[in-house]
Amino acid sequence: MDLEREFERVVAADHRIEPRDWMPDGYRKTLIRQIAQHAHSEIIGMQPEGNWISRAPSLRRKAILLAKVQDEAGHGLYLYAATETLGADREDLTTKLIEGRQKYSSIFNYPTLTFADVGVIGWLVDGAAICNQVPLCRTSYGPYARAMIRVCKEESFHQRQGYELLMTMMRGTDAQKAMVQDAVNRWWWPSLMMFGPPDAESSNTEQSMVWRIKRHTNDELRQRFVDMSVPQAEKLGVTLPDPKIAWNAERGHHDFGDIDWDEFWQVVKGDGPCNAERIENRRKAHEDGAWVREAAAAYAAKKERVA
């Protein structure tokens, strides 16, 4: 079919598919699912750090954290907007999220226990997100790629502020240093899991690579993240909780230990430490706000009738 060949030609030439172009159903569905999960992750991701805005121990940190969590709302918005160019509807996607029919990144189902977690999330979680997301700035679907450019620019500020907070705390009291190490211990392995299951078990990877929705495999991106993080940890003066991390000159990469995939699947399936709480908070905000959204829509409808 001509349209399909034209689609394949555009993708193969590394050009962008735009909203009104013809595209295979599978491509459209895969994109909606992936972008919606990404959007949900941004919105749910506001909670673990948002919890600490009220308790941030300096006014500068409070402002930075509030601005960061606000950025995440913005990222969610950009991404939901990208799904809408594909015919999806934000309200519908939100319903799917709060009914547990669509997922978000499992990382946000881990609890934030101390203020050091804010720094470690910035450094490791946002760092892992950047590894995942920078290639998406060149993804084949135009609106997604453009949203990701904006997201990545802001994420780099997030990672920077996180690392800077940790550097500051590592110059502080022994109690602060211990807090940082403890947070690194808790977040390192979940951060590695953010790249998804190993390539051999990743059912969606191959087709997504052909369509150039994805540009690198899970394992490639995970390796890049480890290689990036090891020298950063050294510089910071913390130990990554994996005795198997070692430079492998032959591969030109760091080796690292085995990931506990049982834990990964347990959290994905909804039995992580905070799954229920995160969804419940989102559901409550959405339902508590319904009368406000209705009021504004009713007001607009009245004004239109008068006009």
Binding site: M46, P57, K62, A67, F115, F157, K284, D288, R293, E294
Partner: protein, 293 residues
């Protein structure tokens, strides 16, 4: 944080290994003339900076409670912007008080007790998302607070103190936006559904008892107003009343028929809401003495 060119991200290449932005939150008073006139009482000036700074800080703390809880994502972004504006004002004003008193913004924010805070009660009460209110109560407070603070800052742009004048000039632009945001929502909630109108009426009744305190001058405000440094809040009443009446009139609402409650925030007397608010705000800073952040 700044977008000098709103669409630069669409036309520029992306550098993968680059941390693109500075954090830009460092110097609360950078670039402002900080000289103190010899005719101004330093203790009074510091106390006045705390009054206006605490109003902004405590209210920003309340507004930030909406984070991830707003009725729609767009409103989450809007409320965070307003909280960030006020936090910025608070940092400048507390820094000013701090440099006069030989301390800093964080010691003032985190190590003072309730009786040393000088904010008005309107800033500290729970107007939602906690049990004390909802989105309508939140917009009622935002309308009253921003109408009042805008009138105040507008006059303060002519202050004899260069820092107060500079903070006010920046704040006027911000507060104009806050006041308009609140007014837009009051119109929509009052004119939306029967239920939203009910909530709006109830919300106004929560904040109205705290109105009189906003126009009651503390002796320090009197003295500094005479010196051309501060604004006598009593002078703001007619302007604020007229703004509120205009918005309420457009929304088809009337002033709530409720009695005033005693104020006293300027002198360190607060409501029951204040201690838990501060306990939460200060918990990490106080739990780790000597910590650097």
């Amino acid at each position: 944080m700044s977008f000098d060119n709103a669409y630069e991200s669409l036309v520029e290449g992306h550098e993968e290994k680059h941390w693109a932005f500075g954090t830009g939150f460092t110097h609360a008073l950078s670039g402002v003339d900080r000289a103190i006139s010899s005719t101004v009482d330093r203790d009074d000036l510091a106390a006045y900076c705390l009054m206006l700074g605490d109003d902004a800080l405590v209210y920003a703390q309340r507004l930030a409670e909406w984070c991830a809880k707003a009725p729609e994502l767009e409103e989450d972004v809007a409320l965070a912007n307003i909280a960030l504006d006020l936090l910025g004002q608070a940092r400048m004003l507390l820094s000013r008080a701090g440099e006069i008193q030989g301390t800093d913004e964080d010691a003032l924010a985190y190590l003072r007790d309730s009786s040393e805070f000088r904010n008005v009660h309107l800033a500290e009460i729970d107007c939602g998302p906690g049990p004390g209110g909802d989105f309508a109560t939140t917009m009622a407070r935002l309308l009253v607070f921003s109408a009042w603070r805008l009138a105040l800052l507008h006059r303060l742009t002519g202050s004899a103190d260069p820092v107060l004048a500079a903070v006010a000039a920046k704040g006027v632009k911000e507060l104009t936006y806050h006041r308009d945001h609140a007014a837009q929502w009051v119109l929509r909630l009052a004119g939306g559904t029967d239920y939203s109108r009910e909530r709006m009426v109830a919300g106004l009744a929560v904040v109205w008892p705290h109105l009189d305190e906003l126009f009651t001058a503390h002796p320090i405000e009197h003295r500094l107003a005479e010196a051309g440094v501060a604004v006598d809040p009593a002078e703001l009443r007619s302007e604020v009343d007229s703004v509120l009446d205009t918005v309420l009139g457009a929304a088809g609402l009337t002033r709530p028929d409720v009695a005033s409650v005693p104020g006293g925030g300027r002198g360190g007397v607060h409501t029951e809401a204040m201690a838990p608010l501060l306990a939460e705000m200060q918990v990490v800073a106080r739990a780790l003495p000597g910590g650097v952040w």
